[in-house]
């Protein structure tokens, strides 16, 4: 299990106004969250691009978290709502491709919710551990 989690790659697309600041706060408070979660800062989760996330999976990412503001609190009014719809769409694409749709999930939190970010990161990591590594990884390895 340890060996597996060490190699897990979970990409977290985080809004700079909430989840990114929450992750920063978690660091400041010395709260531990799984190191498998790699943060990519976005100006808003409304910038979360379906193609970018697909390419992350194609390149071997095992999971994708989208972490945006609480409902109704988007700095740009509705970017987090748009991100939710795109996350749902991404799940349908993953399903069509043959990957588990659960490999992508959206979370909503505020910049003060360091604990919630840690919980979300742990939840996602545990879920991916259960699902196993992205099966495309083996194929990527085979191709050298």
């Amino acid at each position: 299990m340890t060996a597996m989690t060490n190699s897990l790659q979970i990409i977290a697309y985080c809004c700079e106004h909430c989840a990114y600041a929450a992750a920063d706060l978690a660091g400041g408070l010395r709260m531990q969250y799984p190191p498998e979660v790699k943060i990519v800062m976005l100006p808003c989760t409304g910038k979360m691009d379906v193609l970018l996330a697909l390419q992350a999976f194609e390149d071997g990412a095992d999971g994708v978290m989208v972490a945006g503001c609480l409902p109704g609190d988007c700095h740009y009014l509705e970017g987090n709502d748009n991100a939710k719809r795109r996350t749902d769409y991404l799940q349908t694409l993953l399903n069509e491709i043959g990957l588990e749709p659960e490999r992508v999930k959206m979370f909503n939190l505020s910049s003060a919710m360091a604990g919630k970010f840690v919980e979300a990161a742990k939840e996602m990591t545990e879920k991916i551990v259960k699902l196993g590594l992205n099966p495309l990884r083996e194929r990527i390895k085979d191709e050298g």
Partner: protein, 226 residues
Amino acid sequence: MIVAEQKSLEEIKELVGDANKVLVLGCGTCVTVCFAGGSREAAIVAAELRMASKLDASPKDVTDATVQRQCEWEYLDQAAEQVGNVDVVLSLGCGVGVQAIVERFPNAWVVPGLNTTFMGMPIEQGVWAERCAACGDCILGLTGGICPIARCSKSLLNGPCGGSIDGHCEINPEIACAWQLIYDRLKSKGKLEVLMDIQPPKNWRTSRDGGPRKIVREDLRLGKEE
């Protein structure tokens, strides 16, 4: 614009079949603005096909490109080299685009990635609705600018029918009754008398009933004078 929607990945996989080298060719015009077959969609479909084929243990070499308009040979020619290098071209253009590729590059095997659906417009972001049926003999001047051919389920020329219920069509309460819209529009413009003229049966030979259509403009043709 021409409005289309993507076929399911399952159908696309079947159409692509055993081909190893695949070019997903997008179109930069109508299907770009209806988010069905532009450069982004071509990149997404290509990524989907690459991943799905890897998971199926038969990885394909899938690339993508987009031309400004698939329905004009001048633009298509820009993709000639890429088309020539693959086993199959998956066109994300409308039905015209698919056929244009076939006509321009007869050696290529071309399959459609979209279902071409109708001529229409976005009525809000993410929602498109049919507006024109290309009947070839426009009667919008008689109906206040609302087309009963495309928007009335029965294409009635003298409506509404008895199935018009509270401004909606009997076939689906979500569809507005075109003849109610026409009535309301003419009433608002003080032109209800237009409706007193009974329209004779329409000449459908200008529509699909007359077979495949073609327009020839001698003033625009190139070549030697006779």
